[in-house]
């Protein structure tokens, strides 16, 4: 190797000694504000129009659910048969349904049941699912086997059919809570599964090992390091699931086994609109549209949040 032919174009050359281009090895950036993981996600979210659209949809539907009287002064239960399937008129922008009730008022008041069921079910499912999933994922071994089989049992039971049976058991005392409990009963296993795998992944990380080498106990590691790092997929799924719980509630009401008829609900209204679909499609259109927009708000939000929290999207 001592005597090597040097070909043309391969002579020893070097560029100008230009120390400015060299810089210090490994300097810490000091021109930017600190960026936490959540801060970064937020910065990314802010730039997405879909985020703002879904945020507006969610905010709007929650507002309507909380204060329906701000949007209409008409009683959604007041029926006047003479107005049956009546067309829009001043004060009644969406017209009337078959019983002669104001569709606009019913659409506004229907939000409350849907949003309440969605939010409550999500909270219960996430609580149970996270507890079960983190125990299974963190402890492993027999605890994991046992809890995973319990989760599987709920997956194996056909949900709608089981829901009908349970709602039938509580036929006499149906309320928003029965619906919430039934949907939660079949909602938590999915969250438990997601939480379990996220926890299993996070507990392998070296920062958890480092904390263990410091003598930090299992529970404090779980709360300090593992759960915060496993939270992203749970948050994303919970947002999307909230939307799907609203659809489920509507489906149960559609089947006539959901909310009691005294509660104004989009599902029940869509169901009763069916018989008049040919003469008056608007009776179906408004509750269905309101339902779709609300659900769309939540699932689009889940979608953009997933993109923003995805660690692979960043380095």
């Amino acid at each position: 190797m001592s005597e090597t032919q040097v070909y043309p174009g391969q002579e020893h050359t070097f560029s100008d000694i230009d120390e400015t281009g060299l810089g210090a090895v490994d300097a810490v950036p000091d021109d930017r504000p600190p960026a936490s993981l959540l801060g970064e996600a937020w910065r990314q979210l802010r730039r997405r129009p879909i985020f703002w659209i879904s945020a507006a949809l969610i905010l709007f539907s929650v507002l309507i659910a909380l204060f329906p009287w701000l949007f209409t002064s008409v009683d959604p239960r007041y029926a006047e048969l003479s107005h049956s399937l009546g067309l829009p008129e001043p004060g009644h922008p969406f017209g009337f349904d078959k019983q002669g009730r104001d569709i606009y008022a019913r659409t506004i008041y229907g939000a409350r049941a849907s949003v309440a069921v969605g939010v409550l079910t999500m909270l219960i499912s996430v609580t149970i699912g996270t507890i079960v999933g983190s125990i299974a994922g963190f402890r492993g071994g027999w605890a994991d086997s046992l809890l995973s089989r319990v989760t599987d049992v709920f997956f194996a039971i056909p949900f709608v059919l089981a829901a009908i049976v349970i709602m039938q058991i509580f036929k006499e005392s149906r309320s928003i809570w029965t619906v919430v409990v039934v949907i939660s009963l079949f909602g938590w296993p999915q969250i438990a599964r997601i939480c379990r795998s996220a926890v299993m992944e996070a507990k392998q990380e070296e920062y958890v090992t480092a904390a263990r080498a410091l003598g930090s106990g299992g529970l404090s590691n779980m709360l300090r390091h593992i759960l915060p790092n496993a939270a992203a997929p749970i948050i994303v799924y919970a947002t999307v699931a909230l939307g799907s719980y609203i659809v489920t509630e509507a489906t149960l009401s559609f089947l006539g086994i959901g909310l009691p008829p005294t509660i104004v609900s989009w599902g029940a209204d869509i169901s009763s609109a069916r018989s008049v679909l040919r003469e008056a499609p608007q009776v179906l259109f408004y509750p269905a549209g309101a339902l779709a927009l609300t659900v769309l708000g939540f699932i689009m939000m889940g979608d953009v949040v997933r993109d923003a929290l995805d660690p692979k999207a960043r380095k």
Partner: protein, 598 residues
């Protein structure tokens, strides 16, 4: 900050013609063109520029790069991560990732301009004219196809062979690439292969259609050192046999000098220096190249010592004293002693039967105060298992660890908790060792909080001190791990390890994921801290060159057993075992004398 005036760049390339006297005789290693006429380059890259589009604007990845490769020649492009070396390699084969675009200059292959080829033209070029051996062997083979299929695919796509003929050729290729029992191996899937075997298969694929140019993108950096050497030797044999030109892309100057006759050094998208490899190593001209050469850990480098005189902290026994007393009956310098450590794991064999793996098999050693013990071994040697036993993360099957003469098994739970303060780890992966959800302040403060040290204010002061100690600005406290580079994260990990004033730090491959310059910096920092705080280190590593720079005593491990122990100087000067000699010989460029500064 790097927006240098590009127009001036074209002129700032000086040429120093140092043609090594009259050494224009026919070189034996490199086959030049026959006769007297000037040989024509196989690949010419001229004023080449690549830019990436990012959310914040255009990032220039390669600026005005020019170099050439002659038929049958091996060259190397050397640089750190982000230097643009891989971008050039990708551009040559038409695989610029994502938003990358050629913004200027051209690439000539065999005299033809291939800068703006159509997809079809590239498809004709790839495989048959230009081959690629990628970086990470495990992720570059499709897990769902057999190895044989993936070789065959290359042959069929480039019309080299068809049908059963292709199968035969594929098996031959694999055999040629150094896979024993190739007929059976061809039917296996990538996950049944070791990293080295996967890389052999990939070399087989890269050379399957006898290309004129082979791009080897960090072909061995993911492999064990001895495997690395065997594979590079084999690659060298194959390519010189076939007359293939090779373009190495590497971060390792030693490897570049050993395997290539011509070296191109890149830094931040620019070629800062290029020339015959020995010239570059022994007579670097650009300040960046000088830095690189000085940082290159090779055999000729010495044990790093602190900026100040080593091990002279008042009140602490110096290394010499420690050794003397350690040799006597007092063992005053001993901080940790491991005796006959054994760790057995229950595993499942290939057919699901239960087996026992003796991951650590009768390993004993002593660490003296203020010194560094290195455990060297390749993957599967059990070196990390030893570290985990010492850290109390794993229980040894048998054997005993003594902390300052006290057996760990006799410690109560609270004593063990206290004991953990004295020994802290720094792990390999700079991207996994810090919780991404926590600020740097909370990362460093965590040990203090767990061990309930001090008030809030005191802790904050301590964290600031620790940041000073590892030469990070105090403003870094408010930042998050995601904002820091690998080296900076490793500094934070060291600061966290130092928080409780430990006596021993276990460094599990703590510098192996870092770029050369950063690695050198961290090693220097560790040496400084050692003398200042009289720390003892247990250095777990696969890299003998790093050992040479930082260890006092060395244990070589293989398959859970101790192969050889001795002081660092002894071991390198006079290795007793063949395996140790192999390890030393495998250090890339180890035999090349380097420029040692002006």
């Amino acid at each position: 900050m790097l927006q240098a005036n590009t127009s001036s760049l074209a002129t700032d390339v000086q040429t120093t013609t140092k043609r090594a006297g009259a050494a224009r005789t026919q070189a034996s290693a490199e086959p030049p063109a026959a006769g007297v006429q000037e040989p024509k380059p196989l690949l010419e890259v001229k004023d080449f520029e690549v830019a990436f589009q990012s959310s914040t604007g255009t990032v220039q990845a390669v600026r005005k790069a020019s170099f050439c490769i002659y038929p049958g020649q091996s060259i190397a492009i050397v640089g750190e991560s982000g230097s643009g070396k891989s971008t050039i390699a990708s551009a040559v084969i038409g695989l610029l990732p994502g938003t990358g675009k050629v913004t200027g200059g051209k690439i000539l292959f065999d005299g033809k301009d291939i800068t703006h080829c159509t997809r079809k033209e590239y498809e004709a070029l790839r495989g048959s004219k230009i081959g690629l051996v990628p970086q990470d062997p495990m992720s570059n083979l499709n897990p769902v196809w057999t190895i044989g299929y993936q070789v065959r695919e290359a042959l069929v796509a480039n019309n080299v062979a068809k049908g059963s003929e292709a199968h035969k050729v594929a098996v031959e290729m694999l055999e040629h690439a150094g896979l024993p029992d190739a007929e059976r191996r061809a039917k296996q899937y990538p996950h049944e292969f070791s990293g080295g075997m996967c890389q052999r298969a990939l070399i087989g694929i890269g050379l399957a259609c006898n290309p004129k140019l082979l791009i080897a993108d960090e072909p061995t950096s993911a492999l064990d050192v001895t495997v690395q050497k065997r594979i590079l030797d084999h690659l060298n044999e194959l390519t010189s046999e076939l007359g293939t030109a090779v373009m190495f892309i590497t971060h390792d100057l030693g490897l570049a000098a050993e395997r290539a006759s011509y070296v191109v050094v890149m830094h931040r998208g620019r070629i800062v220096e290029s020339g015959p490899s020995l010239e570059i190593l022994q007579n670097p001209r650009h300040p960046y190249t000088k830095r690189l050469v000085q940082a290159a850990p090779s055999l000729s480098s010495q044990r790093l010592s602190a900026g100040v005189v080593r091990a002279q902290a008042p009140g602490m026994p110096t290394k010499a004293e420690g050794e003397q007393s350690g040799g006597g009956q007092g063992r005053a310098g001993e901080v940790l002693r491991a005796e006959h450590l054994v760790k057995v794991f229950d595993i499942r064999g290939a057919k699901g039967e239960k087996q026992q793996l003796r991951a650590v098999d009768d390993v004993s050693f002593t660490i003296s105060r203020g010194t560094t013990l290195a455990i060297v071994g390749e993957s599967g040697s059990g070196k990390s298992t030893v570290a985990n036993i010492l850290l109390g993360l794993l229980d040894a099957t048998s054997g005993e660890v003594y902390y300052e003469g006290v057996a760990a098994s006799t410690l109560s739970k609270t004593d063990m908790f206290e004991q953990r303060r004295k020994m802290q780890p720094v792990f390999q992966n700079p991207y996994g060792s810090l919780d991404p959800m926590m600020s740097i302040y909370r990362c460093i403060e965590e040990p203090l909080r767990i061990h309930k040290v001090g008030t809030r204010g005191e802790r904050e002061k301590r964290v600031a001190e620790l940041l000073d100690l590892v030469s990070l600005p105090r403003s870094a406290m408010r930042r998050y791990p995601g904002e820091l580079s690998g080296g900076q994260r490793q500094r934070v990990a060291i600061a966290r390890a130092l928080a409780l004033n430990p006596e021993i730090i276990v460094l599990d491959e703590a510098v192996s994921a870092l770029d050369v310059l950063v690695q050198a910096q961290i090693l220097q920092l560790l040496a400084d801290l050692q003398s200042e705080l009289s720390l003892s280190y247990l250095f777990i590593t696969h890299d003998l060159a790093v050992v040479r720079q930082s260890a006092d005593e060395v244990i070589v491990m293989r398959d859970g057993k101790t192969v050889e122990t001795g002081t660092c100087v002894e071991l390198f000067a006079n290795p007793q075992e063949q395996y140790t000699r192999d390890l030393i010989a495998a250090i890339p460029g180890g035999s090349i004398p380097l420029w040692v500064g002006d």
